[in-house]
Amino acid sequence: MTFLDAAVALIFNAILNGAPLMFGTMGEILTEKSGNLNLGVEGMMYMGGAFGIAGAYYYGRMAGENASGALAILIALLFAFLAGAFGALIYSFLTITLRTNQNVTGLALAILGTGAGQFLGEYMRIREGGYVAVSIALKDQFQNPVFPAFLQNIPVIGKIVFGHNLFVYLGIVIAVLMTVYFKKTRWGLNLRAVGESPATADAAGINVNRYKYLATVIGGGISAIGGMVYIMTIAGGVWNHEGLAGEGWLAVALVIFCLWRPLNALWGSALFGALMILYMRVHLPIPDEIYKILPYVVTVVVLVITSMRRKKEDHPPESLGNAYFREER
């Protein structure tokens, strides 16, 4: 294998491995922009993974031979999204309406969500007699590249640009949409104001709670899709509790690393994805496990540097983590 081949393979796999993170991160960016720090991403991704595969698996069994790949993907997406949105809805109700502490509530959601995801995964395994995997035909629909072969055969860039499964491109579309939403639309501007200074937003006639609820619930849904993407592509359509562990927390780290910008999540997730698999491909005199903690170390460095530089755009949304309620008089 030439060096170039190795590099292409590395970049390709980095993007593949980063895709679940991309969703997790973008969902959490949306959530945090509204001033909610939802630490339950891990839980929501677990739920997304378990419900996603459950949806695809049971659809596949019911449809049998005639199973449509597109429909299976849609069902998996929908199930994952709804599962995450449901988790985020619980979180929103507690933190926004009942004004509970965001950190503690987020951790409780992480516990509940990982429990629920794992439970569903195991429960299916027990009921279906030891092994749950979607059919190979369906699995391929999730994993196969979407672009025709001739595009993928373009030297070097072919595989990197056109060689991915559907979800990578879906993620890119979401990132672009989110960026446009934040930067170019009225609602995006309002949402940013809610996360920065809810009192000001309130005075400007913006319904603070509605924005917080919507951003958090949709954000939770997007994050959860990441869990489904992991199970259906990287884990090969088999419930894999070990493999999914930690993705959600890494996503929270990536949000900081990306400075709350969705477009940064694209290359950020690929970079983190690369760091996760680098040890298998590049042999440096650094122990493998040290590679794996690099994303966290880098995130800490980014966090420290931004706090030292005091450049306001790079800071977390100002009211992140705080409950808002109008002063009662």
Partner: protein, 370 residues
């Protein structure tokens, strides 16, 4: 004239609910959570009464099970105690997971270096000297791990929630490296050898002595938070940084000092886990205890004695649920679901302790109409 829009209900801050009623509301929310749990059992086609019964008998039925429950509760309680001063100070230390892990590394270092060696530590009995060294090592490591985010917070206002969270994964990564590298036992096993007998915590009533340590710690932390100058400083700082400055307190130092203490206790818990329960170190040494303990501390209203009750409750659930899989074919992870539901309900209950829903009364409406 158009009537002013007014919600049907509005919130009124309660003047002060007697502690008795507050705990009653919490108890009710616990019951409500268990009812929701019962619904899940029904959905699964199981008898909820039987399921809860199995949980109870699985956790408390046999002596060994009860010992296991205490084994689970000890680290939960210990870390909840560690976190309490930070949360009182409104310093959101969610890095206990990492502080436990690093503490465990510190203890393991001494266990591997000295355990079974040098004659002094070669006996079949636990060596007090070695255990003290391990305890000290774990506390220093845990404190150091907590110091890093505290320092940056005090100096540059770096967000401590996100920082401490990241530190968890760095710590776990270091253990993974140690497991497969410098401390690996049989080459290729990715496992650190079991500790020598001299490095194991002795047992009292069948459970490692850590349970006595955390009970003593409970009293100490209670006294520390309530009766010492440090505790007073922490309480004032948690209320208002400005007031603390006004009273001549050194805010940065209090922050750092409290985190050092918190990290040291978490580290000590890490030592108890490796030396008392696991007998070795592996990357899952904290196993989510650092996170669950935060909810324990919060639900206990940062009251150390209430933490005993809550950590025991969660331990019973966790151990008892293990029984369900064998007896009723329900996966063990049901315990996490029920724990999660209980946490959510009890968090929500705080709202009803602080606020009252009041029907918006008519008079004010009419006054506004006039």
């Amino acid at each position: 004239m158009r009537e002013r829009k007014q919600p049907l209900f509005h919130l009124v801050k309660r003047s002060e609910l007697p502690a008795k009623y507050a705990w009653m509301i919490r108890l009710l929310s616990l019951l409500a959570a268990m009812l929701v749990g019962a619904l899940i059992f029904l959905l699964l086609g199981s008898n909820p009464v039987k399921a809860y019964g199995e949980i109870l008998s699985g956790a408390l039925g046999r002596e060994s099970a009860r010992q296991r429950v205490v084994n689970i509760a000890v680290p939960l309680l210990g870390v909840a105690l560690a976190i309490a001063p930070c949360f009182k100070m409104k310093f959101w230390n969610i890095g206990a997971e990492g502080q436990i892990t690093v503490g465990a590394i510190g203890a393991t270092f001494f266990a591997l270096t000295f355990g079974g060696k040098y004659g002094l530590f070669a006996g079949k009995e636990p060596s007090l000297l070695l255990l003290l060294m391990m305890a000290l090592g774990s506390m220093l490591c845990g404190a150091f791990w907590a110091l890093i985010p505290a320092f940056f917070r005090a100096k540059w206002g770096t967000n401590e929630t996100l920082f401490t969270l990241m530190m968890n994964y760095i710590a776990i990564g270091i253990v993974k490296w140690l497991q497969g590298g410098p401390w690996e036992g049989k080459p290729g096993s990715q496992i650190i050898p079991n500790f020598h007998a001299s490095a194991l915590l002795p047992k009292v009533f069948g459970v490692h002595i850590g349970w006595i340590v955390v009970l003593v710690l409970t009293v100490l932390i209670f006294v520390y938070m309530r009766y010492t100058k440090h505790g007073y400083e922490i309480a004032v700082l948690g209320e208002s940084t400005n007031t603390a400055r006004y009273a001549g307190m050194n805010v940065a130092w209090i922050t750092v000092r409290t985190m050092l203490l918190s990290g040291a206790i978490s580290g000590l818990v890490g030592f108890m886990i490796v030396s008392g329960a696991n007998r070795t170190l592996y990357y899952g040494v904290a196993g989510g205890v650092g996170f669950t303990a935060i909810t324990v501390a919060w639900l206990a209203q940062l009251n150390p004695f209430a933490m005993i009750v809550i950590s025991l409750l969660l331990a019973v659930l966790s151990k008892g649920a293990g029984n369900l899989e064998t007896v009723m074919g329900i996966p063990t992870s049901i315990s996490d679901i029920i724990t999660g539901i209980i946490l959510m309900f009890m968090l929500a209950s705080e709202f009803f302790i602080r606020y009252r829903l009041v029907r918006s009364h008519k008079e004010s409406k009419e006054a506004k109409k006039a």
